[in-house]
Every structure is written in structure tokens, then in C-alpha cells.
Symmetry: C2
Subunit: 427 residues, 2 copies
């Protein structure tokens, strides 16, 4: 507990994801007052969220309290709050509870999934952005097997054992691979009336290849690795007419209970309150220094920003590496402005990208070299453990992975309900 | 996946707590068909639930999938289901979904908290029986500190930093100690506007001493250890007039946001459907062989059973040791009956009891010797790790405890909401 120096400029950072947290760290113990506002009390290591959804890790393994991460910086204050809008002219942030004035603002509120106008599909096919999403998906997957074990209707059983993942980007590929693994290995001996190995996992992708953001050879390799896990990959087709009982793909109705959405993103709604141009996905079109036109004191970073890459004229991808580099840059820009200088041009150093498919299965694009399978998987493992925030989590995750690797067992197979539902069931 | 031999007698075990699981293991690979029915898909290690409620452990650390524990016994089938009633005459169990016939039945559905006719208090002061309860209590405790940090109203802040635990049995003592520790140590440096060390933790007990089931010297020692953690222990008083803003104790209104119920138990409602006498707490009064009158094929064990101890004429306490020994005995009784013998008289071997208060703080009653403080705490640690079901959990818990002990840090400080609430908040 320390008082802040109110004579110093006040920086507000909205969002404690990869970008916001990196910006905060770089402003830690600098001559500014910083307020970090987030809707949750933890930083989420989103790249491993699919492992919570498939029962390999616990929520606390991939989430670290924001206060614990930033507690050592006396000039940083953390506020649990929901930002509704930003008044750029008055330099004020409006949360559901109060208004807070800023001198400099970094907006890093990220994105959620987009259902392309079909918001009613969210309940039928949850996406994977939050811990709550992951726990819900885990619940649905495990309950589907429980239902299949209980029912004596062959059609219902087949539908319960069919899992459809919509979207063949990194999240979709990871989810499809992980569901196939849990069915073929972890649950193989758990049931008496069904054989989880016979589950169908179907991955639907509108493009002509999975991992469309990757080089073509790696897309082909990822598809091959998915097929080794007996995932049915359907390319160039779209999900239509979702219901509780299934969905339609290329005119065919696929009966299935569990559908998972990994098909599209929509930027956080806060962006639209700034009054500056946004793109089709709701992202704010930022200038080459990350600021918005006419307001050098406002910077937008991470998944909320549309930053045109000078290399190919396309927006930078929504990955953690972009957010982290932009967070650091935004913090430096603020120091420049305080010193009377202009904000500097941002440039992204692309170190490559990776996606994992399963045990010993992955693809890695390090720009100068592409690789697949076991070496790519090892590299993926190494990078992800390295970047996991907080020493404890790194060890805990390594331990759980080691255990799962040796035993094919996943420890977090809990079907939990919410407190209200629990109360109701007490009657 | 293996078919069961339908010519063998069918044993149904309701409840996969300590008693039900022990009975199932002892019937594993024996010439009977066994069906274990539970409302959740996991066995919960309840003695450590308070550690989930106070952010020291993750749900998956103290819960193991029932299927994973019993999967190796080919004659055991696991059913996720909610038992509504038992038709003792027709020998059928009714779940919400179907009816199942049995030859032998073991009922081990345990207990929930009782609000002594004030069911409306459950929302105000949740008890601690399920993982959902624990996650909800964790959420409330952490949110109270977040609220205190944000508010500028001194009275509201004081109320948010006052935690009242109602009931001074083992659960109440553990919760009060753990909340005091999280406030004084874990959260000490996390906030800017409040000093969590200044939180008040109040423990209310109707009897004249805490841990009334323990010898008097240990009650006194437990109280002293609680007071070392600056827990305010109020004896011989009752909680009255609970509201969202506080509660009344001995005529005084104590403003407080977070109230936790650890005051009483009520047996699971299934017991009342048997048509045999139950005691005031809803427990079934069983015969000295654990069966119910007139139905040797029906045995009741664990917290649901009122088994009169021949030593003192009182019912055996609702602790895991009783449930485990009764579970084993019930399994043996079934084997006797199949062999044409009568069920045997049960006798409880009381090895003693323990309660923990905090880091280095506990009491242990091993009958021939009583001890307190660090040695009792070490003994508690040893026993609890030893009994934790599943090798993985044992290691994971040991690791988390070691980490917490060395760093005073608790890793699972997550405020999670439920999926529906998450969806609503997206607007």
C-alpha cells in the first residue's frame, strides 16, 4: 500500500492481456502514475486456453492475478472494472461505476469471437476466449461422453460422440487435435457401454486449407497430422443452420451435440466508442505510431488494433507477439511524449509462428525454416513454457504436461456447474 | 469397455464420496456387478475444500474423476445421475432419468449444510460442501478486497474487509484461519488504497468452545492459535438476522459483506424416501450391522447414517474415517450375504482426529496423546497428502503447498464467473 504521486502524468491502460501487461511493466517504476483496468482479476495465457477446455490443465495454471504480477511496481494501481466507453475529447474513461481522467491512454481490450451476424449460435457453439468459455466447453465435452454412456438410443449416442469444430485456424486445429486425443487415449478405458475411441471429430474450414495464415507446406503437414489422429478435415465448406441437434455442412446435416466455434473474431466494443474509423472486424485503424488520428495521447494495441503491415499491406495478425511488441512500444512512446518528443513509428519483428496439433504433433514457421511433427512440438512446448507468466505456473504446467505425457492421463476432467444451478438443484 | 456378467448379483452404490468409493473398491473384481451413481463425475477430497475456497489449491487438485479411479475394475460401471428416491420394497433406485433394479444397495449420499429453517440464508452465507461452493466463496472473498480497494466510503470499506465465519467446528476454524492468512500474508502487498492486513476475521460459535468435538485442552489451543492470527473468536453466541450488509450477534449488528456458513449439517434428502426412521439431522438410524430394519440388502454409510457408538451412546461423527471404515464393512457384508451368511456388526476404530488452523498451526488428538502447533500441523499435512486420492493429485498438492509455504503466495486467486453471466455481460 503506497500513495501515488499525483503530480505525475496519469496513464490508463485498459486490458491486462499480453499487450496491456507488457505496457504496464515497461512503465513500472517510471515517473508516471499508471492505472490498469481489467474486467477480470487475472492475466490469462490465452494460447493454452484450449488445454483447459480439454481437461489437460486447470484454470489457475494459465491465469495469474494481475495484482500479483504488477504488485511490485509502486506507481501502478490495478482496478477491477468494466470499461464502457472512452471520451477522447474530455480524456476520460467511463467504467460501469465511475469516470477516470487520463493524460495518456493505452487501449488493449482485445477481441471476442464473431458469429457473423448469428449471435444466437453462441449458446450452441461456444467460442474459446475466456476461462469461463473453456470450463463450459470442457463441461460439454465430458457430459457428451456421459450422455452417450447412458443412452440406449443408437442415433443419440452417435450424435453425442460427434464433435464438430468450426474454423481451421490455430485454435480450431488445437481443439480438434486435443478432443481426438482425449477420446482416443485419456478416456479410452473409462466407459462400459461406449468406446470413446470411436468418437468422430470433424474440423470445418471455409478456406481451401487449414492454418491459412501459415505457409502452404505447413498447412498440408498440419492436415496430415490431424488425419493421423483421425480428425475428419472438411475444407472449403461452411457451417449452417446450427441447432442443438447438429448443423448443416455443404447441404448435409451432421447430427452432433457438441459444436465449438473457432471461426472468427470481433474486436471489443470499446473501440467503437472512440469515434475513429474501425474496420469490418471492429478493429481501430491506427497510425504507424499506434496512435489514433488527432490524439497522440491515445494508443491502441493488440487484437483491437488494425495496424497495416508495410510488408504486405495487410493488418498484422492477432497474436500475442504483436500485442507484446506493441505494448512495449506504446510504453516507450509515452516516455518520448513526456520528454517532449513525438511518438515513434512501430515496426513488428516477426519471429515466426507455431501451432500445435497434439502429442508430438505441431507445425512451426520460423520464416527461414519450416518444420513439423516432434521437433516443432518440442519447440512449441519450450516457447510456451518460457512465456508463461509467473514462475509457479511454469513449473505447475511443466509438471502436468510431464505427467500427461507419461501416462496419457488428463487430470482436470471435472464437470462443474455454477453456484446458482447448484442451489436450484437442492430444491 | 467390457460387458458385465448379468447372471451376477447387482450392487448399486449411491454416492462416490469416501464411503461409496471405498465400498466400490472392495467390490472391484469380485463376482458381483456394481453400479456407482453420483451427481458429479468426480470424487471430492472434502477435507481440503477450504483450501480451494481460500485460493491455495485448484479444484482439480482435490477432485479425481470417478471413472479414472474405478476404471480398472471391469465389474464396476459408473453412472452420472441424480437419485431422487429409493423404492425399498421393489428394490429399485429412481434417478431423474430412469429406474434401476438392485439386489444389494449401499447408500452413501452424505450431507449438506443446514440453515436450521433459514434456507434464505444460503445465498447470503454459502456453506462449503461442493466445488461450486468453494469457487463461489473464493470469488466472494477476492471480490470483497477488490470492492474495498475501489470504494471511497469508509464504512463500506470496513464492511468489505470484515469476514464472518459462522460455526466453530473444524471447517469453520480452517476457514477463519485461512482467510486471516490470505489477508495478512498473501494479499498484503497487492493493493494501493487498502491494507488487507487490517481485515477483521470473526469466528462465531454457539458452544462455549471451538472444536467442541475435540478434548478441551485442544479447543483452548486452537483458540489461542486462531487469536495469534488475529481471528476474533466469539463463543456462546449465535448468528441472527443475516442480510447482505451484515448480521446480528448477541444484539450487536456487525456490518460485513462476506459471511460463510459452517454451522450445521442436514443429511441428503434421499434418506427420507426410504420410509425408515431418521434423526433430527435427517440421518437414517441404522442397525449395528449398517443395514436398515427389515432390509438386510440395504446398507447406509457415512454422513447419511446415524450409527450409535456403543462407547458413548452418541452417533459417530461425520468424518471421512467413519465413512471409509463403513464403506469397507458394507462391501464385506455383501460378500457375506452372497455366501449365505448374515451381515456382521460394525465397529469403528477411532484413530483420532485433527484440525488445521494455518501455517504451522493445528491440533491433533490421537486418543493416547494430544498435540498442537507445528508437530500437529506436520502430522496433518502427512495424513492428508497420504490419503489424497490419485498419485497425480498428491504430487500436485505437495508442490503447491511447498510453493505457498516458501513464498506465502497462493496461486489460485481467480475470480471466475459462470458462463451464463459471462454471456449476459457481453450485452
Amino acid at each position: 500500500m503506497e500513495a501515488q504521486n499525483t503530480a505525475q502524468p496519469h496513464v490508463i491502460i485498459i486490458g491486462a492481456g499480453f499487450g496491456g501487461l507488457e505496457a504496464a511493466k515497461h512503465l513500472g517504476n517510471k515517473p508516471v502514475r499508471v492505472t490498469v483496468i481489467d474486467r477480470t482479476n487475472y492475466h490469462l495465457f490465452q494460447p493454452l486456453l484450449y488445454q483447459v477446455a480439454t481437461a489437460a490443465l486447470s484454470p489457475a495454471d494459465i491465469a495469474a492475478p494481475v495484482r500479483a504480477i504488477l504488485g511490485k511496481y509502486q506507481n501502478i494501481e490495478v482496478l477491477l472494472g468494466d470499461v464502457k466507453s472512452v471520451d477522447v475529447a474530455a480524456r476520460r474513461v467511463h467504467t460501469t461505476e465511475k469516470e477516470i481522467a487520463y493524460d495518456y491512454l493505452i487501449i488493449a481490450t482485445g477481441a471476442r469471437h464473431s458469429y457473423f451476424g448469428h449471435d444466437e449460435w453462441e449458446k450452441l457453439a461456444p467460442g474459446l476466449k475466456s476461462l469461463e468459455d473453456a470450463i463450459e466447453i470442457r463441461r460439454r465435452i465430458l457430459l457428451a461422453f456421459e450422455f452417450a454412456e447412458k443412452t440406449s438410443d443408437e442415433k443419440e449416442r452417435a450424435a453425442a460422440m460427434t464433435f464438430v469444430v468450426i474454423g481451421g485456424g490455430p485454435t480450431g486445429v488445437e481443439m480438434a487435435g486435443a478432443i481426438a486425443e482425449i477420446a482416443r487415449e485419456t478416456l479410452a478405458k473409462d466407459f462400459r457401454h461406449i468406446d470413446p475411441e470411436k468418437s468422430r471429430v470433424i474440423l470445418i474450414e471455409g478456406e481451401k486449407r487449414v492454418l491459412a495464415g501459415f505457409p502452404e507446406d505447413l498447412s498440408a503437414s498440419a492436415q496430415k497430422q490431424l488425419e493421423q489422429l483421425r480428425v475428419e478435415v472438411r475444407l472449403g465448406v461452411h457451417a449452417e443452420n446450427l441447432t442443438e441437434n447438429g448443423l448443416e455442412v455443404a447441404g448435409e446435416f451432421i447430427p452432433c451435440r457438441v459444436k465449438i466455434w473457432a471461426a472468427g473474431n470481433m474486436a471489443s466494443p470499446v473501440g467503437k466508442t472512440l469515434g475513429v474509423p474501425v474496420d469490418r472486424a471492429g478493429r481501430i485503424v491506427v497510425q504507424d505510431d499506434l496512435t489514433i488520428p488527432g490524439h497522440p495521447e491515445v494508443q491502441v494495441i493488440g487484437d483491437l488494433a488494425n495496424f497495416t503491415s508495410p510488408k504486405n499491406g495487410k493488418p498484422l495478425p492477432g497474436v500475442s507477439a504483436v500485442a507484446i511488441q506493441q505494448g512495449r512500444h506504446a510504453a516507450h512512446n509515452i516516455q518520448h511524449m513526456i520528454d517532449g518528443d513525438k511518438p515513434q513509428r512501430f515496426s513488428y519483428w516477426d519471429k515466426g509462428s507455431m501451432a500445435t496439433i497434439g502429442r508430438n504433433k505441431a507445425v512451426a514457421d520460423l520464416n527461414f525454416v519450416h518444420f513439423s511433427g516432434f521437433p516443432a512440438w518440442l519447440a512449441w512446448l519450450f516457447i510456451h513454457v518460457l512465456y508463461l507468466v509467473g514462475f509457479r505456473n511454469r513449473i505447475a504446467v511443466l509438471f502436468q504436461w510431464g505427467w500427461a505425457y507419461l501416462t496419457f492421463n488428463k487430470g482436470a476432467r471435472l464437470i462443474t456447474r455454477n453456484f446458482q444451478a447448484e442451489q436450484r438443484s437442492l430444491g
